[in-house]
């Protein structure tokens, strides 16, 4: 009895496993070849043009502070609160200019803000659809009325862009949404790109930005590292970078062309395709358990009659 049930068990496990593999092979094919949509909106940041004036940072807060629950960050020495002095992206700062200085001659500014990925990890992992990617504009947006605050988006984002308001009792996630509800709606351009006095931030469709970047690389090959950061990184981003220094030195990580979300979703879909595997597992186990139970009742009849304890 015992031996037979074990053999059955192994057989059924084998069958379920084979089914899983077959389903896996099917999904792998379906996922091959992610398309890049070059019609989406984005920005091209040219670090060689940036003068580090931080006008973009201040415009971002001026325009978005009410909408994004942003506040100004005081420097330690600044008792009057006249200077906004964020040292990093945070729960009240959506965009930031940093200076990377290797030597007096070799230095570069760099701007951080949401990369608006073609296949965003944060959207892929958000359990309640609080992170969304707009189908037409490609803007990766956040809805605080849905967000549960699990911070999985922070774990998932390879660029460490979503920020959490750690000091608030009622916190939210803060990240750039290309001024979707503010400047973009009113003026058709993001606030940072609008105010940049040096022309370091170009706003537009991804295809135009890529064209422009390629022209700049061609015209001044000595000035730039011959690479458009974001063209292929992590499945492609809508925020593109040109710079004179290696990008990983500027805090932009080396990322493979495959989107991390493609990898994880492939595995998750393989396991849960059509919810077949869990249902198969449940019914198989039910079958075995009920059979085992019947067997035990048959032979253990007298067991039932034992006096019940206490």
């Amino acid at each position: 009895m015992k031996r037979q049930s074990r053999r059955d068990f192994l057989k059924l496990v084998g069958a379920t496993g084979a089914g899983l593999v077959a389903a896996g092979a099917a999904t792998c094919q379906a996922h091959e070849g992610m398309r890049i949509n070059n019609e989406e909106l984005g920005m091209l940041y040219d670090a060689t043009k940036c003068v580090g004036c931080k006008a973009c940072m201040s415009a971002c807060k001026r325009v978005n502070s009410d909408y994004g629950s942003l506040s100004y960050e005081k420097a330690k020495f600044d008792t009057d609160g006249l200077w906004d002095a964020p040292s990093d992206l945070s729960g009240s700062t959506r965009t930031l200019i940093k200076l990377f200085k290797e030597s007096p001659k070799s230095w570069s500014y760099v701007k951080y803000s949401c990369m608006h990925c073609q296949k965003p990890s944060c959207v892929s992992v958000c359990p309640v659809t609080a992170m969304t990617k707009e189908p037409v504009t490609g803007i990766v947006d956040y809805n605080k009325n849905t967000c549960i605050g699990c911070r999985y988006c922070q774990v998932a984002c390879p660029y460490n862009i979503p920020k959490f308001q750690w000091e608030k009792a009622l916190p939210q996630i803060v990240k750039c949404d290309l001024c979707k509800n503010t400047n973009l709606r009113e003026k058709g351009i993001s606030a940072c790109a609008e105010v940049c006095p040096a022309g370091a931030i170009k706003f537009g469709k991804r295809k135009d930005l890529l064209n422009e970047a390629q022209i700049r690389l061609k015209d001044n090959p000595d000035k730039y590292i011959a690479h458009i950061y974001g063209e292929h990184e992590g499945g492609g981003t809508n925020h593109l970078y040109l710079a004179s220094m290696p990008f990983n030195k500027l805090g932009l990580p080396d990322i493979k062309p495959e989107a991390p979300a493609e990898f994880s979703e492939k595995i998750q879909h393989t396991i849960y395709k059509g919810f077949i595997a869990p249902v198969a597992l449940y019914s198989t186990l039910c079958f075995i358990a009920v059979k085992n139970m019947k067997g035990n009742e048959g032979k253990g009849g007298k067991h039932e009659h034992k006096k019940e304890d206490k």
């Binding site: 359990p127 609080a130 206490k310």
Partner: protein
């Protein structure tokens, strides 16, 4: 399921010294929970935008639920592998699972930034099937419910057999003016008893389907706990970032589950002064090495496949933690291969502890130690953060102690009639002469057998 005679209540006082020590820890923990809700998560914890998940997720959820997998592992053994001799262990295993999962859910609510939005998990238009977190959340909620249903028979048995002495004592203690009428109360309680008597056989009939659900759900969400970190391909160290994470987490929770069932039984027998269940435990222990060997093979095979074996042994920070978890599990399992060691409660305790520690360290490695969000980020839990976790663990132990006294959970010491067994238990209990509650029936049993 019709095996109520396998279990008994623990005789003895509830309000012992350890009860109040645990209560103190719980209160300190809950003080910090209060601070977190008033002043924000940053006021209590050292979590940051680089390390958005601290020990509340790593320990309470990712590791705590694995440690609470005793119910899952023993249920597989009893109902799927058809080893009914382990049935007496299952109820206490389910009880600890119930608390483990319930409190993991509680600490998630502490950890969530916007818990009032958690209702979105029940709104289909908000569902996001790509998210491993979504799958984990739904499964854990469903599994906690299933565990409660699985435990209901114990409560029903208790209600059926209760003489309501405590209830009556409270009534008598109350001022006559506010105390309910004696007759009304007796009638109501009788009704409750009848209801319990009506429900019990009906529940028993369908219980097997819940039990099987209680095996399916952990299989799903324990593997998904591994899937959670699949997305962090640039942050998780290559020693741990692999497509096999879901499988490794699943096997990991099974051997942690068996080992914790062994530990739990040893510790509760020791602290409640009951005889050790050596027979069942050594049988259970003989299974563990096979599970761990499968796990170690997958672990090493995957490293070889991805060409990361060098990183595992090069002696740096990550490799040391990797080797620590590997060796704890491997050495703990080696001990259990020896039949003699398996029959010694001391060695059982040592090896099971090593395996649980190693398995738990693996989960810490994946969630925290091997997680590196980039330059400039550091994380070490703050005092408040640790106290919240301690408070939750203390609450778990506290609730366990209260429940085993109120409901028939622990294996019945007099239930199995094998003479060798009984004699061993009497010999054991004579070493603890102060504990006579369960002994009297045992001694009587011996006498009649002789």
């Amino acid at each position: 399921m019709g095996h109520s005679e396998d279990y008994q209540k623990l005789e003895g006082k509830i309000f012992t010294k350890s009860f109040f020590i645990l209560l103190a820890v719980v209160l300190v923990g809950f003080f910090f929970v209060g601070v977190r809700f008033v002043k924000g998560i940053g006021a209590v914890s050292n979590m940051s935008d680089g390390y958005p998940w601290g020990i509340w997720i790593t320990y309470d959820v990712a590791t705590g639920t694995a440690i609470a997998c005793g119910g899952y592992a023993v249920a597989i053994l009893v109902y799927i592998r058809n080893r009914m001799q382990y049935h007496p262990l299952i109820r206490s295993a389910i009880l600890t699972s119930m608390f483990g999962y319930g409190l993991a859910g509680f600490s998630v609510m502490v950890d969530l930034g916007r818990p009032w939005n958690a209702y979105n998990f029940f709104i289909p238009s908000k569902w996001q099937a790509n998210s491993a977190m979504f799958e984990v959340a739904l499964c854990v909620m469903a599994y906690t419910t299933v565990l409660i249903i699985e435990f209901i028979p114990a409560i029903l048995t208790s209600i059926e057999n209760s003489k309501w002495t405590r209830m009556n004592a409270i009534r008598n203690w109350l001022h006559p003016r506010i105390a309910p009428d004696q007759k009304t109360m007796t009638d109501t309680l009788e009704l409750v008893r009848l209801g319990a008597g009506w429900l019990k056989p009906r529940l028993n009939k369908v219980l097997i389907f819940f039990i099987v659900l209680g095996i399916t759900l952990p299989t799903m969400h324990q593997s998904s706990l591994g899937s959670l970190l699949l997305i962090a391909s640039t942050k998780l160290h290559p020693l741990w970032h692999t497509g096999f994470l879901p499988l490794l987490f699943l096997i990991n929770c099974i051997f942690i589950g068996y080992s914790i069932a062994i530990l739990e039984s040893l510790i509760s027998c020791y602290s409640f002064g009951r005889p050790y269940e050596v027979e069942e435990l050594s049988g259970l222990a003989s299974l563990v090495p096979y599970v761990t060997i499968i796990w170690l093979c997958v672990l090493i095979g995957d490293l070889v496949h991805r060409g990361q074996l060098g990183a595992a042994v090069n002696g740096d920070f990550y490799s040391r933690f990797f080797l620590a978890d590997f060796l704890l599990v491997a050495v703990g399992s080696l001990i259990l291969f020896s039949k003699k060691m398996r029959r010694s409660p001391r060695w059982l305790f040592v090896s099971a502890s090593m395996i649980v520690l190693g398995g738990a360290l693996y989960r810490f490695n994946v969630y925290l130690i091997g997680f590196n969000p980039g330059k400039g980020w550091h994380y070490f839990p703050s005092f408040g953060e640790v106290m919240v976790t301690f408070g939750i663990v203390a609450l778990e132990i506290l609730a366990y102690k209260v429940f085993v006294a109120l409901f028939p959970v622990l294996p019945n010491a007099a239930g199995h009639g094998a003479p060798k067994h009984v004699r061993a238990k009497v010999a054991q209990s004579e070493r603890n002469p102060d504990f006579n509650g369960t002994l009297t029936p045992l001694k009587a049993a011996i006498k009649t057998q002789n």
